[in-house]
């Protein structure tokens, strides 16, 4: 059998960027990082009913191999410094999903002396998921939004023309 004869029928054309992004968005691993009640919903999202794995997302127990940090729960000032350390340990490209009111803005506890009013004061955030806590469907939508963002990224850019 000649492979040459069948090759034209198998060919799919795409841009390199799109192919790269498609592979990357299809295996977004999230770090197991639970802070409060939102973490329970995050576990539920990873469970069989909401099933994050159908999007290629699997929980990882270390920041060294994680792609996305889901900040799930109330961030205290003490934890904020540690969150920064964990974020710095993740390899780029890395993403942050702020899950729930507490991670977004301090939520119910924003007047407390020990609470950091929003994780975006410490690390950059890609997607905010509202809710207290958000249902698994909401977190799933947030992560699908993150996938859409990854798909739009541009890696191969033409060098700026020099005069």
């Amino acid at each position: 059998m000649s492979l040459l004869n069948t090759a034209p029928e198998m060919a799919i054309t795409t841009r390199v960027d799109d192919l790269l992004n498609w592979t990357r968005k299809s295996s977004v691993w999230y770090m197991m990082f639970g802070l409060a009640c939102c973490a329970i919903e995050m576990m539920q999202t990873g469970g069989p009913r909401a099933d994050l794995e159908r999007f290629g997302m699997a929980p990882r127990a270390t920041p060294r191999v994680s792609d996305v940090l889901i900040v799930s729960g109330t961030l205290t000032l003490k934890m904020a410094l540690r969150t920064k350390v964990l974020y710095d340990q993740m390899p780029a490209p890395k993403y942050v999903v702020s899950m729930g009111s507490c991670a977004n803005c301090g939520g119910l506890f924003q007047l407390a002396y020990s609470v950091c009013d929003g994780v975006d004061k410490v690390i950059p955030v890609d997607v905010y998921v509202p809710g207290c806590p958000p249902r698994p469907e909401a977190l799933t939508e947030g992560l699908v939004k993150l996938q859409a963002k990854i798909q739009r990224e541009r890696w191969l850019v033409r060098a700026p023309e020099t005069a």
């Binding site: 000032l77 803005c105 301090g106 924003q110 007047l111 002396y113 950091c116 009013d117 004061k121 410490v122």
Partner: protein
């Protein structure tokens, strides 16, 4: 099984003036204890067969700025005899110090660390008196009523424009 008056009488017999009058009623009736004697009183309350307080149910702190004192409150329970006892000690607000009871009930270790963390009470003789909840370099003791929240912590601002904070 003793009622609050019985517990009070038993402690009064042993320690005399170091035990204050019985105040309040019911299960929460309490007696003031001389701060310097609290470890001895607790040791006796645990070992005495008529009291047998084998459980430190709760150890907490109360700030009284007008009276210039911090109270440490001990809720005791006896599983064997099924009765309760409440002890309170007072310590000056500017230099709070109370003997530890962690030698009597090891369970007191963490509550005492918490009271140290949030009220600044130094428990003399505690094996490991570090902050429990707040970061090591946190300024002040947050549950004191005159505590002022710092403007920022390690460059993280502690305020945010919101609906709650006009």
């Amino acid at each position: 099984m003793l009622d609050a008056a019985g517990v009070h009488a038993r402690l009064r017999d042993r320690f005399g003036e170091a035990i204050g009058p019985l105040t309040g009623s019911g299960r929460d009736a309490w007696q003031r204890v001389d701060a310097a004697q609290i470890a001895l009183v607790c040791r006796f309350a645990k070992d005495d067969p008529a009291l047998a307080f084998d459980c430190l149910s709760c150890l907490s702190g109360v700030d009284w700025p007008k009276r210039e004192v911090i109270e440490v409150v001990y809720h005791l329970y006896s599983y064997r005899l099924r009765h309760w006892g409440v002890l309170k000690v007072e310590t000056p607000r500017d230099a709070p110090g109370v003997p530890t009871v962690s030698g009597v009930w090891p369970a007191a270790e963490w509550p005492e660390r918490e009271v140290f963390d949030l009220f600044g009470v130094v428990f003399d003789g505690h094996p490991d008196l570090r902050r429990l909840l707040m970061p090591e370099d946190w300024p002040g003791h947050p549950l004191r009523k005159d505590f002022v929240e710092p403007e920022e912590y390690h460059g993280i601002s502690t305020s945010r424009a919101s609906l709650l904070r006009p």
